[in-house]
């Protein structure tokens, strides 16, 4: 995988802080990169899923005969063909692979068909039917908690309540009485679809040795392996999962999608390779979504703008299965108060089962929802106190050593104030008054800010570990084994940059091995803004170890007094005293295999504090210890007559530690901002009675090239001592900003605030009309 292009430092090792092109760029621009959806092969068969199509039913007999008799059909499988537990799920194993007792949402899988080609497959899928008894459904998270609501999981002890958390600091909500001003707000955020370009896809085959081999578009190959093995009744070691670069994931491939179904099909295809690819409608129907949230906030402050008391109640709709709903709730609770010092806090949260589409991981992971609320509450407070919103934030922003809003002492780099100050100096902020004055007829302009924080890693209980492996091949090339998937965020390249920098090798002197349960080592999920932080730290250790061994062996060969006299150079080593060089291939020849492979384990630091937020909340990741920070600015124009919002300019100033690769860093910020703009303005996976009404990209609109403004990304580089080369996670934080920044800007522009999202023109226009009515009354 060599790059026949400028690597930023021709022939030399890549520097830290340099934009070297992506390691995968050449293969991707030339169309040669092989994604999971590009696997076919000799003797291929296709498999596909019959979905329930009804939101809540007891399943009776499943009629498979007509389908099995369709020419070209190899098998039609149901739950009775599954030999394992037939259950999957990241924490709670509450999701059937193939529905046995009930269907709990329209996307539940009822039968699996294997056929010679797509044509016979689709024909057969149409012929599968099943008897069912309709059950009343519940499609609203708050109604699901009411007495007498239809229950999704009869054996779940708390009815439809998946998980709840309750947490208090200081005097809790009772301190509201001590506040000079109190503002209230209730917010509703939408169900957001990941809309990665590559839908859920994979390929599987039982190999000659009897082991099941799955190639799939995933963020979590090692966890998938356990889930597949358990659900299908296989030994863990009889399953191999290989993860090529996914065509986008954003959390939607954090957990099993096609894997178990593909595995089941491969076990029943007579040894032939099997392929599955969901079409877009199926991806919308059966894939996970960002949890819709209801957020009820009260925020109290002193007259001088000092925040004093926060009272939050939030309800998340997780759909019929846990997936990662509990973890999303925990992270939402932890970030509910933003990056502020608030001495008295009362947080309550519930994650609830409904018959809606499944909630799961999505970039931001509960934080975009709560940030939408807290960052508008801050503006509402500032407005009431007639203070500047930026000044209000600066007054309360956390510093290193402070306790944040849940009382966690911030022991790592904490650059929020620096970000806010940089925003205050940004020309677009300073010139906002003139810019606003330039609005045309029937147009209003406004500026809005948001202060952001985002934790990285898994929290205090689930070990956030990575195991890096670096090999010097017999031929003198370095292999970098990536344990964490690169779904587009660029960590494969930063891995090369980190290893290359330590081993003094140009990127074309190294080769990446992508995650594969047989070849690379377990290093956790590609999620939680942890990839480069956790894996990078492990990789530094592995590369340093190997470097020491190489230098030692070279010192022996070159009869140097110590290895301090030897340095690595591209392709070899040099003895500084004699000026003599030796190629790596020669040194490798004097090392045995065990010496040439270096492995290093890293476990991310965790918070020692033991906060009691209710049973399970700590287990689900509360609290974290390392946070990134950012300050965002949106400049918007609102059409008073149509309610249409145009985001004209956007600025994202981020403290994510040192920047290892500016280009990749910027992409992460700009890409997340674009997704955030979609979340704020147009994205809403609409369903009624559990049926999705926005079934394609014409109904579910994501921003196109014509909808995204110029996005200015400014890093505030504060060295984080615990991070590899001083970096912190940058993957998610920018997702949290656009909704509140834009909503604050709209309020600044036309004096109305939107509480239900996305901010569609009709919602904005209705709010403007209501405000006019109130004034005229």
């Amino acid at each position: 995988m060599t790059l026949p292009i400028n690597n930023g430092n021709e022939g030399g090792p890549p520097g830290i802080g340099v934009s070297i092109p992506r390691a995968d760029a050449y293969m991707k621009v030339s169309g040669r990169e092989k994604y999971a959806s590009d696997y076919y092969g000799e003797d291929l068969v296709w498999c596909g899923v019959k979905r329930a199509g009804v939101p809540h039913v007891v399943i009776g007999e499943i009629h498979t005969r007509a389908a099995s008799e369709t020419p070209g059909v190899l098998a039609v499988l149901t739950h009775s063909d599954v030999r394992g537990t037939n259950r999957q799920g990241v924490l709670q194993k509450d999701q059937p692979v193939l529905a046995d007792d009930k269907a709990r949402h329209c996307g539940d899988a009822v039968a699996l068909v294997i056929a010679e080609d797509r044509h016979s497959l689709n024909k057969a899928l149409d012929l599968v039917s099943f008897d069912y008894e309709l059950l009343p459904g519940v499609f609203d998270a708050e109604e699901a908690l009411e007495e007498g609501a239809p229950i999704l999981h009869e054996n779940h002890p708390q009815g439809n309540l998946l998980l709840s958390g309750e947490y208090r600091t200081g005097a809790g909500a009772s301190a509201m009485a001590e506040c000079d001003v109190v503002v209230e707000g209730s917010f509703r955020t939408p169900r957001q679809e990941h809309a990665y370009l590559e839908t859920e896809a994979g390929w599987a085959q039982v190999q000659d040795d009897g082991r099941l081999f799955i190639v799939c578009s995933t963020q979590t190959p090692f966890r998938d392996r356990s889930e597949v093995a358990e659900a299908l009744g296989l030994d863990l070691h009889d399953v191999r999962i290989k993860a090529p670069y996914p065509g986008g994931a954003f959390g939607g491939k954090d957990g099993v999608t096609v894997q178990t179904l593909l595995g089941l099909a491969a076990l029943n295809s007579g040894g032939r390779p099997v392929r599955m690819q969901w079409d877009r409608e199926e991806s919308f129907l059966a894939g996970t979504k960002r949890h819709p949230a209801r957020l009820y906030y009260r925020l109290g402050a002193k007259r001088d703008g000092t925040l004093h008391c926060l009272d939050v109640h939030m309800v998340l709709d997780t759909g019929p299965y846990d997936h990662l709903g509990g973890v999303v709730l925990a992270l939402g609770l932890e970030h509910a108060g933003g990056a502020y010092r608030v001495p008295h806090v009362n947080l309550k949260g519930k994650c609830v089962y409904t018959n809606n589409p499944v909630g799961g991981a999505f970039r931001g992971f509960g934080v975009p929802q709560v940030t939408a609320a807290i960052e508008q509450m801050i503006d509402m407070t500032a407005e009431k106190l007639q203070m500047d919103p930026l000044e209000t934030r600066l007054r309360n922003a956390v510093r290193r050593g402070d306790k944040n809003s849940i009382g966690k002492t911030l022991v790592n780099s904490t650059g929020l104030r620096e970000c806010l100050k940089a925003l205050g100096e940004h020309p677009l902020w300073k010139s906002r008054a003139e810019w606003k004055a330039g609005a045309g007829a029937f147009k209003r302009r406004g500026a809005g800010v948001a202060a952001l924080t985002h934790a990285s890693g898994y929290g205090p209980v689930v070990p956030d570990v990575a195991n890096a492996k670096v090999e010097l091949t017999r031929e003198g090339k370095f292999l970098i084994y990536s344990g964490v998937v690169d779904m587009g965020q660029g960590n494969a390249t930063t891995n090369l940059q980190i290893a290359g920098s330590i081993l003094c090798q140009p990127t074309d002197g190294m080769e990446l091995v992508l995650p594969d349960t047989d070849r690379t080592l377990p290093s956790g999920s590609a999620s939680a803004s942890r990839c480069t932080y956790t894996f990078g730290n492990a990789l530094i250790g592995a590369a340093e170890n190997l470097k020491t061994r190489i230098l030692q062996r070279a010192a022996d060969l070159l009869m140097a007094r110590s290895r301090d006299e030897i340095v690595l150079i591209p392709g070899g080593v040099r003895h500084l005293v004699s000026g003599k060089d030796l190629p790596l291939s020669v040194i490798a020849g004097f090392m045995d295999e065990a010496e040439r492979i270096s492995v290093h384990h890293f476990k991310a630091p965790t918070a020692p504090e033991n906060f009691d937020a209710g049973p399970g909340i700590r287990m689900h990741g509360f609290p974290h210890t390392l946070f990134s920070y950012a300050a965002h600015l949106a400049l918007v124009e609102v059409d008073e007559l149509t309610g249409e919002i145009t985001v004209c300019r956007y600025v994202a100033i981020s403290d994510c530690g040192t920047v290892v690769n500016p280009q990749i860093y910027e992409q992460q910020i700009q890409g997340a901002v674009a997704q955030g703009i979609g979340f704020a303005l147009c994205e809403d996976l609409v369903s009624t009675q559990g049926l999705i009404l926005t079934q394609d990209f014409a109904g579910y609109v994501i921003p196109t090239a014509a909808d995204v403004p110029e996005i200015d990304s400014v890093p505030v580089e504060i060295f984080e001592p615990s991070g590899p080369f001083g970096l912190k996670g940058v993957g998610e934080i920018a997702m949290n900003g656009p909704l509140p920044a834009i909503s604050n800007a709209v309020a600044d522009a036309c004096g109305v605030r939107i509480f239900e999202y996305p901010m569609t023109p009709e919602r904005v226009l209705a709010a403007i009309r209501d405000a006019c009515k109130r004034i005229s009354e």
Partner: protein
């Protein structure tokens, strides 16, 4: 039903029998193994399957394979030189970070190529207008515009030379 068609694919003369109901996307990916052309939605709403037919960008997922008869088809596999030398657009996407997950990239590059062949100096608005049919969920489009702009800035001449190379028949 099947029909015999002759067409040019990435400079190579092709003669083959295609089923009437095949889309061009199916022909490319599943019959010819050219998996560089991606399927993102199957209904012409994402542009991942964009290829260039007789100089025009089209969605291969909605284009019938039989309709390529007599036409000249360019896919991402045919854009670089035979020796692997990248087209200036490909090179620019690499250098300017126009790629993240890469799944929209082949379609995005071919849509850009069709644009620049027709209009070598498009304005920013024209670029956005021309690429509005190619969804990207990773980059926020900013580095994609930068990648195209860099090629425009390099000048018309250079682009013309490479265009001719990549379209010259090689058989």
């Amino acid at each position: 039903m099947a029909t015999e068609v002759r067409f040019k694919l990435n400079g190579n003369r092709m003669q083959m029998t295609v089923e009437d109901h095949w889309t061009l996307l199916h022909l490319l990916r599943e019959e010819l193994g050219l998996t560089g052309t991606k399927e993102g939605c199957g209904s012409g709403e994402c542009g991942a399957c964009t290829v260039v037919v007789d100089g025009l960008a089209v969605n291969s997922c909605l284009y019938l394979a039989v309709d390529v008869a007599g036409k000249d088809v360019l896919t991402i596999e045919g854009l670089a030189g035979k020796d692997g030398t990248l087209h200036p657009l490909q090179k620019s996407f690499v250098e300017n970070g126009g790629i993240q997950c890469g799944f929209c990239t082949p379609g995005m590059i071919l849509a850009s190529k069709a644009l620049l062949d027709e209009n070598p100096r498009p304005s920013e608005a024209e670029i956005k207008h021309a690429l509005a049919g190619n969804l990207c969920r990773c980059t926020g489009y900013v580095p994609i515009f930068a990648s195209i702009q860099a090629v425009i800035d390099q000048g018309i001449e250079e682009v013309d030379v490479v265009v001719r190379q990549s379209e010259s028949p090689s058989d």
